[in-house]
């Protein structure tokens, strides 16, 4: 399949650059880094869902979908976020030990990121 312009989303602890740290939670991330995999351009979008008492993961998934995300790579997806992203046709990838956004991006380009399964949190 022909890969044209893809929008890769990575949760970030702050608005910044490729050197910014990855946030360890999808729904509660402060910002999302959107990387255009065609041009390597990066832009940051504030996660307005992070402060919600309830449904942060769903809100964050909605934001990603609305911003035209194709792929999300993160450490922890709750079951609702996973379901919402999947319903939007967004590919969900698991991180393992990447700390900086640039590390995630290079591992993504090298095809090292595995597809995520529905995250923990559903069985509380």
């Amino acid at each position: 399949m022909g890969v044209l312009k893809m929008r890769l989303v990575i949760p970030a602890v702050a608005e910044g650059t490729m050197e910014t740290e990855v946030h360890d939670n999808f729904g509660r991330a402060t910002y999302f880094a959107f990387i255009n995999t065609d041009t390597d351009q990066i832009e940051f979008v504030k996660n307005t869902a992070a402060q919600k008492n309830s449904g942060a993961g769903v809100g964050a998934a909605q934001l990603c979908a609305d911003q035209g995300a194709d792929i999300v790579a993160a450490y922890h997806f709750g079951p609702k976020a996973y379901q919402a992203l999947s319903a939007a046709g967004i590919k969900v990838l698991d991180l393992n030990e990447q700390k900086l956004i640039k590390e995630v991006y290079s591992d993504y380009q090298a095809g090292k990121l595995a597809e995520a399964e529905a995250g923990p949190g559903g069985n509380h």
Binding site: G55, V58, Q62, K80, A87
Partner: protein
């Protein structure tokens, strides 16, 4: 007939002895109704009616939205309205997350296409057992459900004012606790003589003062060398400590076997009856 009162039993944190006091007090008295409103983990039944889960139950329902995709134009008004992110719009289709829905019905009202209807979903259950002298009710929240308050509201419709009503409340200071103690004449706060116990006691007392709810304290797992933690605080604040249940191996063992200690240990029936008299006098002041 003497005027009966309703009493709620509360603690700042779980595991302090609410169940111990509620169950033993209920069994020490006559003409009692015990309602277990700790709906996230009701456990009075272990001591009162161990087989209650095999009995018939009454469902507590709530409403959740259903979207007719043929009528939906993907305008997003419902998604934007929902404060709890119970709805999402993915590829022009509404997704519903039932667990986080607060059943407010707002999405149905804002939908300009009348594409949203509501359906009933079981939120929890009420169980009942009528023992001699003790009318027992239990509220229980279904697994994966988060909203305890409607179950407690429904449970409270069973209150019988002709009986001595005892409500075993959920621990803490959140909405379910407030729902459980509202409309009761008096509250007993159970605490334990530890720094944690004192900390959580203070939180509960702050809440009770805000609610202008009359209350007194019972110390569970009381020990001579640590009770001062609670007693000093209560004395400074002018709060009555009405009873101490000692930290005793015998009481703990009976509890672990599901046996109410009032049935085994001498004097306790009388002590608990005296406690109730004192509560009643305070409540009717």
């Amino acid at each position: 007939m003497a005027e009966e009162i309703s009493l709620s039993i509360l603690s700042g944190k779980g595991g302090t002895g609410k169940t111990t006091l509620a169950v033993n007090l209920a069994l020490a008295l006559e003409n009692v109704q015990l309602l277990d409103a700790d709906v996230e983990e009701p456990n009075d039944y272990i001591f009162i009616s161990p087989e209650i889960e095999s009995k018939e139950f009454e469902s507590v329902m709530r409403l959740i939205p259903e979207v007719n995709d043929d009528k939906c134009t993907a305008c997003r008004k419902c998604v934007d309205f929902c404060e709890y992110n119970a709805l999402a719009m993915m590829l022009d289709k509404v997704l519903i997350f039932e667990e986080v829905c607060h059943s407010c019905g707002g999405c149905k009202i804002v939908c300009p296409e009348a594409a949203i209807t509501e359906k009933e979903k079981e939120l929890g259950k009420l169980r009942h057992d009528a023992l001699p002298n003790l009318d027992f009710w239990q509220g229980e929240l279904n697994t994966k459900e988060e909203k305890a308050v409607p179950v407690i509201e429904k449970l409270k419709t069973k209150v019988d004012r002709d009986k001595k009503v005892i409500i075993d409340s959920p621990p803490g200071t959140t909405c379910p606790t407030i729902e459980a103690i509202t409309d009761t004449n008096f509250t007993i706060v159970v605490t334990e003589p530890s720094p944690f116990g004192l900390h959580d006691l203070k939180m509960v007392i702050e809440m009770l003062n805000d609610l202008e709810q009359p209350f007194a304290v019972v110390i569970n797992r009381a020990e001579a060398d640590s009770d001062y933690l609670i007693e000093n605080y209560c004395q400074e604040e002018g709060i009555k400590v009405m009873l101490k249940i000692p930290f005793s191996r015998q009481i703990a063992e009976l509890y672990s076997e599901g046996i109410p200690f009032v049935q085994k240990l001498a004097d306790w029936e009388e002590k608990l009856q005296q406690l109730y008299q004192e509560i009643r006098e305070e409540a009717l002041k």
